[in-house]
């Protein structure tokens, strides 16, 4: 046998072996992809065209669930609450993260301590314990009203109990967790060469100009990335609203997140068909919003010379 042929055969045998090994290593992932993600997505699409109470057979109803969703005032309320929440919580998280990262970046002492301290809320902010604390802090006799009284502002009503402020308390809770985005920005800031700032300084650029023309463009991929992840998270928010409103989305549906409405339809009213349609509307919303954010910001996001 000629050497070249043997090499070629060994090469292809190696390729087969590699493929077999790769798919063996991936087998849990592939099983999960099919059984836990893709399969359920497909069946939820099917269920969204049916009427199904959880027992017996789903009854095909065509587009009825979607028609119902678009004519359902509570669905629109839930969509409005979710969009309002996302559009306020995400920018404020990114803004706080950016502000604190910039403040901490310039050779501040005890940086690791500050970084750790500001990061803690990101770890516990999603927990039931903190949601319960929030319910107390913003209650009628809570910490906030007490603090306001101390500085002479009389505020006796509950922030959680009033439809005009309840969602705001959830935005504050999300903003409180800016730490993880801040850590990402801090890592990004460190990668910006100091020489850029020196050059700008020589050209007479002030601090604000340097921030706008160096820091922001250099950080823009990370800012976009954090915004996208925060947005996907915000559109799926659930826990805090559930705990603070006792599962109702109240007062007066003012904290009725889309996911909370979906949960109520599915697991309180057992309308699995309708809830699946809501689920697919959520999937489409997230996909559209993500794509829009990424393409819409393409002009402003700077990927460096190598890109």
């Amino acid at each position: 046998m000629k050497h070249g042929q043997a090499g070629k055969r060994r090469f292809s045998r190696q390729r087969v072996a590699d493929n077999v090994a790769a798919y063996l290593f991936l087998s849990p992932f592939l099983a999960g992809l099919v059984a836990i993600i893709a399969g359920p997505m497909a069946s939820s699409l099917y269920l969204s065209f049916t009427d199904y109470g959880g027992f017996g057979l789903p009854e095909w109803v065509g587009l009825e669930n979607y028609a119902r969703a678009f004519g359902d005032p509570r669905m629109w309320t839930a969509a409005r609450v979710t969009v309002t929440y996302t559009a306020t919580a995400v920018p404020s998280v990114v803004l706080f993260a950016l502000l604190l990262a910039t403040a901490l970046n310039r050779g501040v002492g005890f940086l690791p301590v500050y970084r750790a301290v500001f990061y803690v809320p990101s770890l516990i902010g999603g927990s039931v314990a903190v949601a319960l604390l929030w319910r107390q802090v913003f209650g009628a006799t809570g910490l906030l009203n007490h603090a306001l009284n101390l500085i002479g502002i009389q505020h006796q009503t509950s922030w959680i109990g009033s439809p005009s402020t309840a969602l705001g308390t959830l935005v504050v809770l999300q903003t409180w967790q800016f730490g993880s985005a801040m850590v990402i920005f801090l890592a990004g800031l460190r990668q910006i060469p100091r020489s850029y700032y020196e050059a700008a300084s020589v050209d007479g650029a002030g601090r604000f100009q340097q921030f706008v023309f160096i820091t922001l463009p250099m950080l823009s991929p990370l800012i976009l990335f954090s915004t996208v992840m925060a947005m996907i998270g915000a559109l799926q928010a659930f826990n805090a609203a559930y705990i603070i409103s006792g599962g109702s989305g109240g007062p007066a549906d003012s904290t009725l997140y889309f996911t909370l409405y979906l949960y109520q339809q599915g697991f309180v009213n057992f309308q699995f068909g309708y809830a699946s349609a809501l689920g697919w509307l959520l999937i489409l919303t997230i996909a559209t919003a993500t794509a829009a954010l990424i393409t819409g910001t393409r002009r402003w996001v700077h990927y460096g010379e190598s890109a």
Partner: protein, 311 residues
Amino acid sequence: MGALRRERVSTPGGIALAAGRPVRTRGGRHGLVGGIAAHPLFRHPLLIGFAWFMFYPLAWMVTASLRPDAAINNFSLWPGRDFTLANYARAWQGVAGVTFVRLFLNSLVVAAATVAGNLLSCAMAAYAFSRIDFKFRGTLFSIMLVTLMVPYHAVLIPQYLMFRQFHWLNTFLPLIVPKLLATDAFYIFLLTQFFRSIPTELDQAAHIDGAGHLRIFCTIILPLSVPALATAAIFSFIHSWNDFFAPLVYLTRTANFTLPLGLRAVGDSSAESAFGALFAMSVLSLLPVIGIFIAFQRLLVEGIATTGMKG
């Protein structure tokens, strides 16, 4: 998702490092908060004040858990003469006849299984993605990243119906089995990034010595990836520990409740009169997370800095 490809800012930062420039510390003259706030004399008080403002509610919760219920409207941070451990004794009794220890252990079992499942299945997938050249690698990797966007609530109903069919309701299986199947793409992504940074010469040498992929995975990649695996384990634990939604759907019997469900039950049933016990239980439930953070904070901070995500 173009943004995912470049989780590190691609700048010539490496050049600055190679030239021996201190990229870590920067002269105190750049940035947004200029003027007064930039002066070190003012910066620390500002930062400390801000942190104080952020943490006051948490600190107050700890104090309130050490005071009798009647003192709920005392907002100072020192329990003083009111000091009592009675709330913790009440919290220890748990909810509806299920002790706190039971709730704690339920949470611990779910979290431990989640960590083990995530680590094993995600490390395996990450090994394939980072070290083996196979057909459809790019496609599968993209699909994996896209699953990061799939909202859990949208696949929940078919999953629920499926697990009900299996008679898994009111067991921990619906919470654990998906983790054995590498469904948390975040950890695959994190580990893939790390595995890619290990020099391939190591596997090639082992390969020439006759080692197969399993041996390379077990004896080279895993031992060299302990920091990344630890990061994934910690995120995974904290995520599972805080999880409320999946247990809410799958666990309806009090005896099976995890801590967050137990807390919710106490929070719903207790009127203003039982705040102390509720806060005591909340504090106890946060302790493991805080403890892990204090022990491993460097790993966590590096973990999010390199993947650009939180767990």
